[in-house]
Amino acid sequence: MTIAPETVGELREIAARYPQSRSALLPMLHLLQSSEGFVTAEAIEVCADVLDISAAEVSGVATFYTMYKRRPVGDYHVGVCTNTLCAVMGGDLIFERLKDHLGVGNDETTDDGKVTLEHIECNAACDYAPVMTVNWEFFDNQTPESAVALVDDLAAGNVVTATRGARVCTWREAERVLAGFPDDRADEGPAAGPASLAGLKLARERNWRAPEPSSESTTGDAIAADQAAKSSRTESDVAVAASPADTADSAGPKSDSNSDGKAPDAGGTH
């Protein structure tokens, strides 16, 4: 066995998260892609062993899902959305340019092991079409030229930051996060991109808001809640900067303006 004992320990840790251990199989396969580079024959065996199911059952699962790879993947998995909307908006041309530029076909890796190129299905960012991904981070509003510059930066080892996300890590590091082991990059990147805010921006400009609730049905315990927030800490121990209330233009039912400032009594009557 070449799979490290620590990895096997983490596989058992994942299995223990769930009411029934077999539920852990998908995250376990993500973890093994992180540690082994792809779903190896040995990875299949160790999953079967940990979960006490057959290797055939594990194999059946590993071959069903497109994110599981049976061959080594480059440091950077580059996805180009070629589902209809992105394809029409330019995704097809981007994908062709990248194949040509990198000298690889679909689902192939460059000789230096840096970049694996794959055309992907709709990745739920259609308002930023044409969309690409690097290690499953969003790269919005791409063109053939920006796509070429992106893969060149990746190949050169330059720091690359997602449009709505973090500094790009390696594919194997990303797989570890998907297995449920956070990498502490949640605070990187913006809350939202411009398209996500398109309607909100208009609403602010035109003073449009949801109706005010009738007063007896509101809850307001922002003060107590804020105190609770201050006592909480994240995995990073990074002090979370107090957010400005941005009440100047905030409106609607979640606004602090409805707060009665009373501490909540969570003791229920049920």
Binding site: Y65, M89, E121, A124, L178, L197, L200, T234, A241, G267
Partner: protein, 440 residues
């Protein structure tokens, strides 16, 4: 009179560090949780029923009624599973919601789990959205540390564990019973119903599966009341929802409005179809909802009106295509998607989507004959309603609707001996030929 746009779920997306607990609570977040924990579980279900909230994942089933199907006092564990597998082509609302304000969802999960008496809940999020997964993991961790999750939540005796579970790339897992199989560590294939998940779902126990936006809508309903929510929208399609405009529009994006707004109004807000072009066809709710055209600009975007117009509201994923787009190319690509994503369990979908691609591909290349259109319609007729789940039905939607509205464009491919469109003209950038020299 309710305003044209009604930001509720998206109202804090422009706040500083909106994804953090501190930011969320500063705006009153988790106030609804504390209110809900002071109510009886059945009363919470009644409030959601009274609000008229219907599932935001596409089907539009009343959320409170779904919760009411969970048998009570049955001695079995109950589960809440959030369907965050957003993969329907065109659909892009849940990901920005979870990226910007994961705590809205987490608060909704806790209230909803409390109502159905579940002590374990899952957020099944597709794997291909790394930063969304990170934000969910962080939000759940913050919620545990603040005592919103875990044992004896806020001293009321209620326990809840919440697990963020990343999928691994399979559109079919957005189908709720396939999602359950996937969450049990199996291939994501749909289950025969009955039994319905409310009776025998995850681990054969009573389970509620709801879309992200449905669950995220629960805190505002609890905080502001059922009447407040049902004061927005139409008679049968109540409340607000996220409308996602994409494609050939000047300012694509998310627009949160009462159900019943029209595409004409939304296009106006989004700066119109891109300059110098006109609307050709659009999807009201993703690729599985039949195409509509310019004649449907004034149809209210609610479940009933879009249904009466021959389509479905779906996920309010408004993909806009102008006259530069070849409808045959668009439909072929969607059909290739359904073929790729068919799980293979049932014959009509597995074999049918394969034949649909063969036939469409030939037509798109200008080969084949007019009789192929009848073959396509016949194939669709043999898939629709005969497949195991809605994936097969969805595969037929773009084909039958495009033949209905654009039959002559198919024939033009035959007359032209290929696609008569310049695909460069449809892109959102000025096309530079590959030979023009790229900095490398």
């Amino acid at each position: 009179m309710v305003d044209t746009l009604t930001p509720v779920l998206s109202d804090n997306w422009d706040a500083d560090r909106a994804w953090t607990l501190a930011s969320y609570e500063q705006r009153g977040g988790y106030g609804a949780l504390k209110k809900a924990l002071g109510e009886k579980q059945d009363d919470v279900i009644e409030i959601v029923k009274a609000s008229g909230l219907r599932g935001r994942g596409g089907a539009g089933f009343p959320t409170g009624m779904k919760w009411g199907f969970i048998p009570q006092g049955d001695g079995k564990p109950h589960y809440l599973v959030v369907n965050a597998d957003e993969s329907e082509p065109g659909t892009c609302k849940d990901m920005p919601l979870m990226l910007a304000s994961p705590h809205t969802l987490v608060e909704g999960v806790i209230i909803s789990s409390y109502a159905i008496r579940a002590n374990v809940a899952f957020i099944y999020v597709r794997g291909e959205v790394l930063h969304v997964v990170r934000r969910l993991q962080r939000a759940v961790q913050e919620a545990y540390l603040a005592g919103h999750l875990g044992k004896d939540i806020h001293g009321c005796g209620y326990d809840l564990e919440l697990i963020v579970h990343a999928g691994a790339g399979a559109y079919i897992c957005g189908e709720e019973t396939a999602l359950l199989d996937s969450l049990e560590g199996r291939r994501g294939q749909p289950r025969l119903r009955p039994p319905f998940p409310a009776v025998a779902g995850l681990y054969a126990s009573p389970t509620v599966i709801n879309n992200v936006e449905s669950i995220a809508s629960v805190p505002c309903i609890i905080a502001n009341g059922a009447e407040w929510f049902s004061g927005m929208g139409t008679e049968k399609s109540k409340g607000m929802g996220l409308f996602s405009l994409s494609g050939h529009v000047n300012n694509p994006g998310q627009f949160e409005a009462p159900l019943g707004i029209t595409l004409r109004e939304l296009l106006d807000l989004a700066g119109g179809v891109r300059d110098g072009h006109e609307l050709k066809f659009w999807t009201p709710g993703g690729s599985s909802t039949p195409l509509l055209t310019g004649e449907h600009l004034d149809v209210p975007l609610d479940f009933e009106s879009i249904g009466a117009a021959g389509s479905m509201l779906g996920t309010r994923a408004l993909q806009i295509f102008d006259e530069t787009t070849c409808v045959v190319r668009a439909v072929l690509r969607w059909t290739e998607f359904y073929k790729h994503e068919s799980c293979g369990k049932c014959t009509p979908c597995r074999e049918g989507t394969w034949w649909l691609v063969q036939t469409l591909d030939r037509l798109e290349r200008g080969e084949g004959s007019e009789a192929d259109l009848e073959t396509l319609l016949d194939l669709c007729d043999n898939i629709l309603g005969r497949a195991f789940c809605a994936l097969g039905d969805g595969a037929t939607a773009p084909i039958t609707s495009s033949i209905q509205y654009f039959r002559d464009e198919y024939l033009e491919h035959l007359r032209h001996g290929g696609c008569p469109f310049d695909r460069h003209a449809a892109t959102l950038f000025d096309h530079t030929p590959a030979t023009a020299g790229v900095s490398a």
